[in-house]
Symmetry: C2
Subunit: 111 residues, 2 copies
Amino acid sequence: MPRTPMSPELLDLVAARFRAFGEPARLRILEALRGGEQSVGELVADTGLGQANLSRHLQQMLALGLVRRRKAGRYAYYVLTDPDVLRLCDVVCGRLDRENQAQRAVLRSAG
Amino acid sequence: MPRTPMSPELLDLVAARFRAFGEPARLRILEALRGGEQSVGELVADTGLGQANLSRHLQQMLALGLVRRRKAGRYAYYVLTDPDVLRLCDVVCGRLDRENQAQRAVLRSAG
DNA sequence: CAAGTATATAACAATATACTCATACATACA
DNA sequence: TGTATGTATGAGTATATTGTTATATACTTG
C-alpha cells in the first residue's frame, strides 16, 4: 500500500499484471485451472480456444508467474502457481455482481 | 465465486474491468485520486499526463463507473466512486512486492 | 458581447495484442 | 527407424488502444 508515488517501473509491472487478467481467453484458462492441473489438450477442450492461441496465452501466463508447467512425456501440464490468483478474479466478479444488482434495484424502483 | 462457468458476457465484463487497471496512466490517475476529489487541471499537474490524454482516460473510467464527475462552473471534479477500488491495486502491489522479495531471497541464497 | 479558461472530442499516427495457419520440435510407439 | 501425437512458435492479418494536435464546447468575466 504505497503512499509514496509508485515508480514508473512498478506502475508498468502492476499494469502488466492487470492486463494478464484483462482478456476473456485468459480468464477462461484460469477458470479451467481452478480444478487443478490440466494438460494443454484438456485445456483446449475445456476452454474452446484454438491450440496455438491457447499455447500462446499459457506462455504469457507462465512468463508472468501465474502458472507453472510440468512436462511429462509429450504432455505439458499447467497449474496455478497460487490459488490466491483466483481470489483477484473473484473479487472483481463479486463486485460486478453487486453493481449489477444495485443497478437492477434502481431500475426496478424507477421504472 | 461462481463455480458454474462464467457466461461470455460476464467474462467480457470482468476482462474489461481488469483492463481498466492495466494501463500505467490510469493507475497514476487512481493514485492521484487517492487523496480525494481533483479537478482535471490538478490531475494534469499530478500525473504528468497531457490534458487530452488524461481526459480520455477519465471518460473511460467514468463509463466503467470507477470514478464520478461533478461539474462546477467550467471545472470538472473527479472522485473515486468507491475507495475499495484502490484495494484491488493494493492487493496486486502487495503481491508483486512479496514476489519480488521472495525472488531476491532466492538470488541471495543462491548467488 | 468579446476574450479567456477549463474540459471534451475528432482525426490521425504509432504501437500492441489477439487469433489463425502452417510448421517445427520433442516424445512415444509400432 | 519411421510415423503419429502433443505442444510451441514463426509469420501474417485484423483489431484495439494509446498519445498527440487541433479544435469544439461550455462557462466566466471584463
